[in-house]
């Protein structure tokens, strides 16, 4: 099997040669072609080096089928340095943090707080105290929704979400509305399955007290213009939460230019461990938001009559946190920030383009989400074929992807389907894997239609 590097170069070379044969192409264009070729080669080469950091991608499954992992939107794979970091923590300096009067505790605390600074750098946040560790995106959203339901939302207020939210960005707000008497309002999608911006303008009003919006849809791959919508909602007096669960690994997050009141994501989507999430909040918001859970770490003083709460970021970190996981996330993000993420993103787009092109030739296959400006996941259905059957047949060929409603039942209902198959890519995937997937899909479809 050739490497991703040579395959990417081959593809770019083919394109360059095909266009060179065309006499209408002038000198300037062939120069552009050469540059594009060099760029594609560099991207594929860098992606191949990146892939080498992930030992699990060399796995062989039943019947010696090489693993083709295309379920990245559900969870990314992990570089070897993550398990090395976790192992080092447990073998060398396992200890509780912050209060221990011994050397292990100091080392663990230093590593844990170092990870907080790394996360802050990763999302362009100048103050690490605004980074709160939680279990994941779901807990982060629940924390904010629960707090706002008692301090910010009142009867008659409106919470605006979109028609492409994950259940994790629907249900906590539904619960907050039930508690506060606010109403949940849903921004519909347009025909291209993007957010309907005209409807957004219409629905936004002084009653809008919260906008909770997904950056990249996990079911469609649509990318929302979050910074713009955030500014508009804030101008109306609303607080804005951005669900960056998918965006954290595909976009460059800069919370300062984004301007959102809260940004939430999960470590496991960005090559980190499960069980760790990040909640960023603006200082004035986090200071007025009530604590979510009471317990150790989050307090200053405890009396039987009352307690005073700790400062940020400890106020929202009750109990012993996932110390190893947070340190692991820090190590993974340090590694990621050393990569040329622009080149990696370019390779990722090459994968998506190749896959979209090949899938569009499969008869009866329908791709969901916008045709342009989409993230690297492809959600599709095949006429006359059930997604569950496809998932099983692809699995038996070593190809891992997701089938079902992707935790977006209202969205699936509005599209009039039970669910889709979703192939999702990260830069460690190769062009060969795209081809193996497309061939495996065609074989499965033929078998199910026969």
């Amino acid at each position: 099997m050739s490497t991703a590097g040579t395959a990417g170069a081959d593809q770019a070379r083919d394109q360059a040669q095909n266009q060179a044969r065309d006499p209408s192409h002038d000198q300037a264009q062939s120069q552009t072609q050469k540059q594009a070729l060099a760029k594609a080669e560099a991207a594929a080469q860098h992606a191949a080096e990146f892939r080498a950091a992930f030992p699990i991608l060399q796995t062989r499954l039943a019947n010696n089928k090489p693993l083709v992992y295309l379920d990245n939107a559900a969870s990314s794979q992990k570089p070897a340095l993550l398990s090395d970091t976790l192992s080092e923590y447990y073998r060398e300096y396992n200890s509780n943090i912050h209060r221990g009067a011994h050397q292990l505790a100091s080392r663990a605390t230093e590593a844990y707080e170092g990870a907080r600074s790394t996360v802050a750098r990763f999302i362009g946040c100048p103050d690490p105290a605004l980074i709160n560790f939680c279990k994941g995106t779901t807990e982060g959203i629940n924390l904010v929704a629960s707090g706002l339901s008692s301090t910010w939302l009142r009867e008659g207020d409106e919470v605006l979400i979109s028609a492409m939210e994950h259940h994790a960005n629907i249900v906590p707000w539904q619960m907050a509305c039930q508690r506060s008497g606010a109403r949940l309002i849903v921004i519909p999608l347009n025909e291209q399955q993007e957010l309907d911006l005209e409807a957004f303008e219409r629905l936004l009003s002084p009653r809008t007290r919260v906008l909770a919006l997904v950056w990249i849809s996990n079911a469609l791959g649509s990318i929302n213009p979050v910074a713009d919508l955030c500014a508009r909602a804030q101008a109306m007096g609303a607080q804005v939460l951005i669900d960056a669960a998918q965006a954290c690994v595909h976009e460059f997050i800069d919370v300062t230019s984004l301007g959102a009141d809260y940004v939430v994501f999960s470590a496991h989507k960005v090559y980190g461990p499960t069980g760790v999430g990040v909640l960023y909040g603006r200082r004035e918001r986090l200071e007025t938001l009530p604590p979510y859970q009471g317990g150790g770490e989050m307090i200053k003083e405890v009396y039987y009559e009352y307690s005073t709460y700790n400062d940020l970021p400890y106020k929202f970190e009750a109990g012993t946190p996932n110390i190893a996981g947070v340190i692991g996330l820090g190590a993974v993000l340090e590694f990621l920030m050393k990569q040329d993420r622009v080149l990696l993103a370019q390779h990722e787009q090459a994968l998506v383009q190749r896959c979209m092109k090949a899938l569009s030739r499969v008869e009866g296959l329908r791709i969901y989400g916008p045709p342009e400006h989409r993230s690297s996941m492809i959600s599709f259905t095949v006429e006359g074929v059930h997604a569950y059957d496809l998932g099983l047949l692809l699995d038996s060929q070593g190809i891992a992807l997701r089938t079902g409603h992707h935790c977006c039942q209202p969205l699936m209902r509005s599209l009039g389907i039970d669910g889709t198959c979703r192939a999702s890519f990260l830069p460690y995937n190769t062009l060969e894997e795209v081809d193996v997937f497309v061939e495996g899909l065609k074989k499965s479809v033929n078998m199910l239609r026969a």
Partner: protein, 161 residues
Amino acid sequence: MESPSDIQEREREIIEEFSIFDDPMDRYAYIIDLGKKLPAFDEALQRDEFLVPGCQSKVWLIGALKEGRVILQADSNTAITRGIVALLLRVLSGQPASAIENAPLNFLDAIELRSHLSSQRANGLASMIKRIRALASGLDGHRNPRVSVQNEPVNDSNQPS
């Protein structure tokens, strides 16, 4: 007339048929084919009350008692599940209720069916078996009111020819 040991005999046949497959794709092709041969299920009976709970795919299951034997009819909206349903019916339909309730169904492991299913799907398979056993037990003791809709004669073409 069939004896209760028929279940084991039918399981043995299935194990033998599946023994020729090395590639799971071939095994699935065969399962899908078995599903296609499942006798037509009346669309009017695709009612929610006959759905097996706990399955990711939709599986409808009904049964009737005929001369002391339980005749099962079933269908699914997905091809592979329909094939799995066909295998279960081939082994269990037409057997006395007591035999159905006690059948160990070892063939499911022997043909490596369970090991290739995700835990969610394996749970679905377990739900199907549980439902078939409950149906048999209900028919046997005439305790299950749901079967009363099944008045028309049911052919037992589920069985191997």
